[in-house]
Structures are given as C-alpha cells and as structure tokens.
C-alpha cells in the first residue's frame, strides 16, 4: 500500500474490527440463503450415491466437511469401490479443484492486512458459491462474511447428505424443478456484480470464449481453467500504465469494508484521510 495515512489508518481500525465478527458471519450466512434448496437437494443426491458405493455416513460427512467441494466429491464418490482407488480419487480431486488456486488468489483483497492465522482458518470453508457471493459484496467483503457463507453451506450440504443417505432414494430429480440450474443462475447473476468497468470487457469475452472452446475440447472441469487462463492472458496483455489508477480505486473499494465493520464513530476516519490526500 503506497498511500500515506492509509496504512496507519488500517492498523488503527483493524483491532476493533475483528476478523470473524459474529454479525458479519451471520450476514455471510444469510447472503447464501438463495442456494439452500439446490444445495440440500444435491447434498441428498450425493448421500444416495454414497450409500450405494459403500461409504458409511460418518465417512461421507467427514468428506463433506474436510474436502467441502461439491463437484470433486461427486466424482470421488462415483469412483469409490470396495477397494478404494485412493490415488485415482486424490488425483481427480486435485484436477477438479485446481480452480481453487485461482479462487484463493482472487481473495487477496478480502484477506489484505490480516494475520496468517486468519488466512489459514478462513480459507478452508471456501466453496464456489460463498466465494462468488462474498466477492460481489463490494463494501462488506471480509473473512467473516466468507466464513459465514461457508459454514451455512457446509451445514446445509451435510444435512442434505444425511437425508439422502438415510432415505436411500426418493429424492426429487433436481432437473424437474430446474434446481440444477440454480448454480448456473447464481454465478451468472453474480457476474454482473463483479463488473468494474470497461477494462473487464475484453478479459470477460476471452474467458467466455476460452471456456466455450474448453467445454467442447477438454474433459471435465478443465474448461474453467481454459476460460480463466484466457481471461488472465488478455487482462495481462491489455494492461497499460494508465490503468493503474483504476485498479487502485477498485482495490480501495474492497478496503471500504473497514468502514462497515469499524465501531460506531470511527467509520468516518477513512473518508476524512481520503479527501485530505
């Protein structure tokens, strides 16, 4: 951070703010509410599959909370046999979840200036859904918000698993109520919230084209990496010196969380130093 005054300000407000504030956690959980029906149904579908493949319910719940990544879990449980093909499952998980390197990297503004223990504890419950919801909370992005969404989805996911496992079938087909489309819809809608200006246009088009090409030419979830790679490449190529200002503004907007979580009366410090710059 090169702004004079800004760093000072950060260290002053941070201790009051707290990293995992309970009110922020609650807000994060509420923000993921639209995903409840789909998450519970897909959790139940996974539970049915796990029972067929011979996992115990305990093992399934352990997996759901330790791995916490839906698509990788579906593939892994599908590969599960009496003699577990451990290496295959772990490699498949690594390949499917490779996007988390990018998701983790994009969370930098949320964890900026936070100690390592916050990053270590806050990065576990990061699924695509609560990540996307958190990234679009311009002024609220905060590790607590992210964690709240993650904990909510984790509880719903594990509840779905349990219901499906115990019922062993009779789960409504997610396609009938378009519940499978809920994930597509939430990600498509949240994309709008990530728009930061015309600098996004070309990288986004590249990402769309890259992922479409990947979808038709590559297996599984490689299309995510193809699209993200294309977007990143175009972003790197279209960068110019004079764009720096824009990127600074954008990163600062995320830091605006300080105003949100700061105790009453201290919130106006940030704008004050801003104008005095």
């Amino acid at each position: 951070m090169s702004r004079p005054g800004q760093t000072e300000n950060q260290t002053k407000t941070q201790p009051h703010a707290g990293h995992f504030d309970s009110d922020t956690i609650r807000r994060g959980a509420l923000a993921c509410m639209p995903l409840l029906p789909s998450t519970i149904i897909f959790g139940a579908v996974l539970g049915v599959l796990a029972a067929q493949r011979g996992l115990s319910l305990g093992e399934l719940l352990f997996m759901s909370l330790a791995v916490f990544a839906g698509s990788a879990q579906f593939v892994s449980v599908d590969l599960w046999r009496e003699t577990i093909p451990s290496a295959t499952i772990i490699i498949a998980t690594a390949v499917i979840n490779m996007r988390y390197v990018l998701i983790g990297a994009s969370l930098r503004p949320v964890f900026r200036g936070r100690p390592l223990w916050v990053k270590v504890t806050g990065m576990h419950m990061v699924a695509d859904e609560n990540w996307a919801v958190s990234m679009t909370q311009k002024d609220l992005a905060n590790p607590g918000f992210l964690l709240g969404g993650g904990m909510f989805l984790g509880v719903v996911w594990a509840t779905g698993n349990t219901v499906g496992y115990l019922l062993g079938g009779g789960i409504p087909d997610p396609e009938v109520y378009a519940l499978d489309f809920a994930f597509t819809a939430v990600f498509a809608a949240l994309t709008i919230g990530m728009w930061k200006g015309r600098v996004d246009l070309l990288p986004w088009i590249a990402a769309a084209i890259g992922s479409i090409i990947g979808h038709y030419t590559l297996p599984g979830t490689w299309s995510i990496l193809a699209g993200a790679g294309a977007g990143v490449a175009v972003a790197a190529l279209t960068w110019r010196e004079d764009m720096d200002d824009d990127s600074l503004e954008a990163e600062f907007a995320v830091e605006g969380r300080d105003a949100y979580i700061a105790p009453e009366g201290t919130a106006d410090i940030t704008p004050a130093t801003e104008t005095g710059k």
Partner: protein
C-alpha cells in the same frame, strides 16, 4: 432398504483417502491466496488479479449453461439481463430457474 446402513464405521483406507482429498483441496485454496499475496500490489499483476474473479466466474457458468442446452443458454441470458436491470439476486435466479423449469416442461431439454 434391506439393511440399516452402518453409519459410524471409519475404515483406515477411507479416512486416508479423504484426508488426501482434503489436503490437496485446502492446499490449493490457501496456496492460491499466499501466492497472490506475494504478487505486487500495483501494476500489471494487480490488474490481472482484479480481473481474475470475473474470469473464473464466467468460466464456471458459461459451460454449464451450454450443457443445459438451448434452454440453459436462454435461462442464463434471462438471469444476466434480470440482474443487470433489477440488481436483485433472488429475482434474477427466479427468472432463470422458472424459465428453465417451464421450458423443460413444455419443450424438453
């Protein structure tokens, strides 16, 4: 159900497999963040990192809309348009899902 499933058995093999899955997944989550922390805060890399969430998000849903067929593409378009106009996540999701649900009912996917 022919027999009540064993709920609490943990085989060593299963636990080790799950721990392996968890380790690679968490390693990538935290590793990505720590790697990004080492990138410069300004200039080209900061600019690229700013564009990253949108690029990842688009790459997640565009292929899945294509997989859902023509109705999926229409549903995604309706969702995006509703969100751009109304700025309401619930409304945008509802429009997309209703369109897809009704579309599948009448046209089939």
């Amino acid at each position: 159900m022919t027999q009540f499933p064993d709920l609490t058995s943990f085989s060593g093999e299963a636990v080790l497999t799950i721990l392996g899955m968890a380790a690679v997944t968490y390693g990538m989550r935290l590793g990505g963040l720590l790697m990004a922390d080492r990138l410069p805060q300004h200039g080209r890399w900061a600019h690229v990192l700013e564009r990253l969430p949108g690029a990842v998000l688009i790459s997640v849903w565009v292929p899945s809309a294509l997989s859902a067929g023509a109705i999926g593409i229409a549903g995604a378009a309706a969702t995006v348009i509703t969100m751009a106009l109304a700025r309401n996540l619930f409304a945008a999701m509802a429009v997309g899902m209703v369109l897809v649900g009704v579309g599948r009912c009448f046209i089939g996917s």
